[in-house]
């Protein structure tokens, strides 16, 4: 099998969400001497980009996106050990910490953003729902993230987005992170008012803003 065929197969299995085939094609890539990083960048990631684009256009929904992400991870289980032995590094755009703020139990929007960020080359640290300000900041420090993404789906929890930004400032850490906010009642006006670095109305907005901010930083 040619390298080109292997790369096409890797992209295809991501689009189909076929984890078993993903493992097999990842093994085939290694057996045929394909550089594992090339398998990631020109195979798996291309498949993820297709699924991301289909999601953006409304052609597929969250289940397909999640299955593509799981399939990507299944293939990485085969490729990662070799990447580590070779001391290579996958080309992540940056690391994003995601959390739904304190008092808010909603997770679907945040989960969609997490998956779309992953499909677009970001490393995502998702610490879940109902997270206190200090836990969010502690996790951001622990994982050395570039961006903190804060979700809030209720007007009564939006003030906690402001609290995170204010506390980062108080602790002298504000310059270390970009802070993005999102969620049903959140708006650009609110983001401006609380001093966030960006607001995403949709998951794809979040990707675009995160990319732009990280490029600016570099």
């Amino acid at each position: 099998m040619s390298h080109r065929e292997i790369l096409e197969n890797l992209a295809r299995v991501i689009i189909e969400g076929d984890q078993q085939s993903a493992r097999e094609h990842a093994q085939s890539a290694l057996d045929n001497g394909l550089d594992p990083l090339e398998a990631v960048d020109n195979g798996l990631s291309k498949g993820m980009a297709v699924v991301g684009s289909q999601f953006e256009n409304g052609d597929v929904f969250l289940p397909e996106l999640l299955m593509a992400a799981d399939t990507f991870n299944a293939a990485m289980e085969i490729l990662n050990p070799v990447i580590e032995v070779n001391q290579q590094k996958t080309s992540k755009l940056g690391t994003v910490l995601l959390a739904t703020v304190k008092g808010d139990q909603h997770n679907i929007g945040k989960n969609i953003v997490a998956t779309v960020l992953e499909t677009n080359g970001f490393e995502v640290v998702d610490i879940g729902i109902d997270q206190s300000t200090l836990k969010i900041i502690e996790a951001a420090q622990q994982h050395n993230v570039d961006v903190i993404g804060l979700s809030s789906v209720m007007t009564t929890t939006m003030p906690y987005q402001k609290e995170v930004i204010d506390t980062l400032t108080e602790m002298g850490l504000r310059e270390n992170y970009f802070v993005l906010v999102g969620g049903g009642p959140v708006s650009q006006r609110w983001a401006d008012e609380i001093g966030a670095d960006g607001y995403g109305e949709t998951a794809m907005d979040a990707v675009g803003i995160a990319k732009r901010l990280i490029e600016q930083k570099q």
């Binding site: 929904f61 969250l62 679907i108 007007t155 009564t156 003030p159 906690y160 049903g184 959140v186």
Partner: protein
Amino acid sequence: MPTLLDFIERANNGPILTEKDFNMKFLIPNVRDIVKAYEITLDRENPISGDDAMADRLYQAAVELLVRTGIYCQDTNRVIQLDRREILSSVEEFRAGQARFGEGRDRRAFLARKPEDKILPWLHVGTGIVASSKEIAMAQVEGYGSIPEASSVSVPAFSHIRGMPVTGGSPLEIYAAIDCVQTARRALSRCGRPGLPIMNLLSASTTAMGTIAASYRAFGLRPSDGWLIDVLAEMKVNYETLNRLAFVQITGGNIGSTAVPILGGYAGGAPGTALVKTAYYLVGLHMFQGTYHLTLPIHFNSGCNSMREALWVFAATGRAASRNTRYPAIALGFAAAGPCTKMYFYEAAATILSQVPSGYAGIQTPHPAKAVIDDAVTPMEAKFTVEFTRAVTGIKAHEANELANRLLEKYEDDIANAPRGNKYQECYDLVTRKPAGAYLRLYDEVVKEMTRLGISFK
């Protein structure tokens, strides 16, 4: 029928698994398999379905989904398993009209309807999700109560107390929840409708703590009001849910099971969303032991439900549930456009058309501007809901479908860039509490336009 304590026991002892595994190994594959097996298909060209056979398949599919999947409890990481015989027995035992709301002249039975029923739906006016300042809330609720046909009201949440933003779980939530209830009751008394039931308790409350605090009778709530308690999207509950359920059940209030499935979320597209939305009626009736249900899909990206896929979800699920249960449900539209815009009325009309002939027992004022702009709702939208619902009661699904398609032509391409409209104070006189001339003129134009489409306003 199992009691709430039986379900709590199942939440403590059911199969344990992570939420991710519940989603990926049970929920998503079960929804996919069942949608396929029961042939639940979206017809984009005909969003208001009158297909009784598919409606009955959708209902059977919803029972199957619940039996195969159960409900996940996020706090115990266990699955509350549901039994087919128990579910069907609860449906059988539920007696229509057992839910009575309000007091005095405004006390009424909330009755189930059937598809294409000629009975006027329960008219639930106002919005609960839109936050308002206290002064505006008072004016809004007085306006809602002044609509003679209103059967019940939703009252707004407060975003600030003494200038401090209200945060969920904090003492300010308790102040806000109590203030909200007292303000709403006072406003209803001022407009001569003290007995009108409030059926969105408690929009100001993020946690069970706020709900419980504001339900203390001295603050004005009565068991004849309605408490909304959510199934979490998708197929999940947590202790906040169960705490609210326990409190309202023990104190004898009306439980309004509430379900907001995400169109494009874990259940996938419109067929999967219709499946979980139908299943939530049964969760409400059987597990929550509710007396009424509040239901709406929300599109994952657009944040509203006026697009054709959502209209189809409304129509298919309303028909499925109303043909097979007597559980009265209120349907709630979410418009992308805000108050004082023509687009809002087109969207509101289309969502109501998807609801009235599909057998929903109650119609709530479609929320303007996706319910995300503070103060951006007025009694004019409630008035339209009442007048339009009266005009289309008794309409056949195929007639509603034709009208909805004509309305969709006017707005569906603009959903992503919908006009945000005006806040209450921008289109109402704060002193007289009457709509501004410009809004009245726009309303008249809309009514004339819809009359030309064939709607007979009474």
